[in-house]
Symmetry: C2
């Protein structure tokens, strides 16, 4: 490997004794040039370590090999894990992912969409903020770029939606809890941005009615993405005012549950299935850390890989066929109940 730096494809082509477009053709598809030409390029490649500027390539290609990935809050381990999985799938398929986080801010979300537009991705995998999203901006974006929504659905936006079946999540946890002990109260944030939260509450009420039980919903205050702290404080309040009507709590999501467990521990309340425990706690998501709470959290698990795989699959199919989906398909994966020690 010579240390000589190559500025651009022109320079590299000259060193290979070829014209730039021929080299361009090679990088687009190595088999599209004659074997002898290919060898000359690859020999030069050994010596000079040149790579086309991906951004210049994107600017000119009719169809790029780039995929945009955007999540509402990357510092949430759920989305971090989701993004990681999707990124890996894209890389394996020969695409170049570009990852963006909205940081919980709808303006930044809209900004990011603008930025993605400039990037000219072949397609975008997008988990929107939800309620607070700038719907008009998203709709405009989706007209220009093939987009698959995941995790949070926005009516009619994007070519398809892939997510988890909130009813399946809640039915499984409620059924399990009712079968094995007292019926659960439902613990949630009052004004969640994420639309799944509302669906879960409604599914809880339905499920409780099916079981002939009175639903008890505890909606706690709190803004932002610090769900654990919101859950912790909300639990202290709820316990102080005796809001939990049974010894069983079903949390809307694992991050709230983590906060709830912390509050219980602080108050010396035992959590678990054993008779001397004060509370049973279950939740939804199978957050990466729910395996490590004390006690380990009983929860309904997303199938990370199913959601990631299917989202990517649908997007790749659209990209390859060059067509948009004729009808907007919504794919919902059922949850898998993971029984651990907390309930």
């Amino acid at each position: 490997m010579t240390e000589q730096k190559i500025r651009n494809m022109e320079e590299f082509a000259a060193l290979s004794g070829l014209s730039r477009p021929t080299v361009s053709k090679y990088f687009n598809n190595p088999d599209s040039v004659r074997a002898s030409t290919r060898k000359r390029i690859e020999d030069a490649l050994e010596r000079y370590n040149f790579r086309p500027n991906i951004y210049a390539v994107n600017q000119n290609r009719r169809l790029t090999k780039s995929i945009g990935i955007m999540v509402p809050y990357l510092a949430d381990p759920f989305f971090a894990e989701m993004a990681r999985t999707i990124e890996t799938l894209c890389i394996e398929a020969g695409f170049r992912p570009i990852l963006l986080s909205s940081h919980g801010d709808s303006e930044l979300e809209a900004e990011n969409l603008e930025s993605l537009l400039s990037f000219k991705p072949a397609g975008v995998l997008f988990a929107p903020l939800g309620r607070i999203s700038d719907k008009a901006a998203i709709e405009r974006f989706c007209r220009d770029v093939p987009t698959v929504l995941f995790d949070s659905n926005l009516d009619g936006m994007g070519e398809a939606f892939v997510g988890s079946d909130n009813a399946s999540f809640v039915n499984q946890t409620v059924d399990y809890l009712c079968r094995t002990g007292e019926a659960p109260c439902f613990f949630e944030m009052r004004t969640p941005a994420n639309p799944n939260a509302n669906k879960r509450r409604m599914a809880y009420i339905d499920a409780m009615e099916r079981h002939g039980q009175e639903p008890v919903v505890i909606s706690i205050e709190g803004d932002g993405w610090g769900f654990e702290e919101i859950g912790r404080q909300g639990t202290h309040t709820a316990l102080a005012t005796n809001d939990f009507k049974t010894n069983t709590v079903l949390c809307s999501n694992d991050r709230l549950a983590i906060g709830l467990l912390a509050a219980c521990y602080e108050r010396g309340l035992g959590v678990g299935r054993s008779p001397d425990s004060a509370l049973r706690v279950a939740s939804h998501d199978d957050h990466p850390y729910s395996r490590f709470t004390c006690p380990a959290l009983t929860t309904a698990a997303h199938s990370y890989s199913d959601v990631a795989n299917r989202s990517v699959e649908i997007l790749f199919e659209m990209i390859e066929s060059g067509a948009r989906c004729e009808t907007r398909v919504e794919t919902l994966f059922p949850a898998k109940l993971v029984v651990r020690a907390s309930a």
Copy 2:
């Protein structure tokens, strides 16, 4: 706002009744055009919602307004939080951050550097993988792009390093633990990629010797980035073979500690300061979740904001002055001991 779509600056300039370079000048600095010209552009902007293609801009600008941010593993909440903080600082300063994760893979790390090179960022904030990093690739990159390393230092690479003072972390935890009870054993991974881990072990040994205590290092096996699970299993092994020589454990980092706490809970071992607790556990990092473990984790906290602020500060100074640092400065921030319930 007219719905008419603008393809490029040429088209927008025509609609404004100006030449493209004038419009370009405006976007570069709105004050660099005459007030009347500016008004014409801004009026047109109201009606047509045009924005220059950021990637085309980057391709041509001598100095871009983009900042690369790269961390070793974005699904680790520590790095997620760090990245989020730095991103926010960059946005506030009028820069456009682009965030990349190495996903724990040194090849991807090198790939990402190549990608950043194409992106032509004004500068890069880079937390390398550490031991497994492709040093040659990083060195090449740093020659071309002003780079500030953070969190993990690599000798001589980048223009500056900003991180935390591992000795300060360990001294504070060891001092505190020795002062308040039995001297701690040190719990760590045998082959960590991150160089901070080695510094912490050495600092532990030093600190123990200063206290006239025999250091006990428990190095557990495990690969990858699933530190909690590694810590959990390692704890079970260590407890089974009675490796903890005292009732106090100091973990190399919080993620290991989270696993350790889970294992203790599984075994019914109480953790905390009270006389009936079997173990005291402390750690380092002040991971975003260490507030919510059961019991809450006593730990030495990074100053996230100090590290983020200083890294960004140094980089911006370099960018503004247009010069590289004359000497490579290493800034280390001391830890802040956060005493919670676990020790």
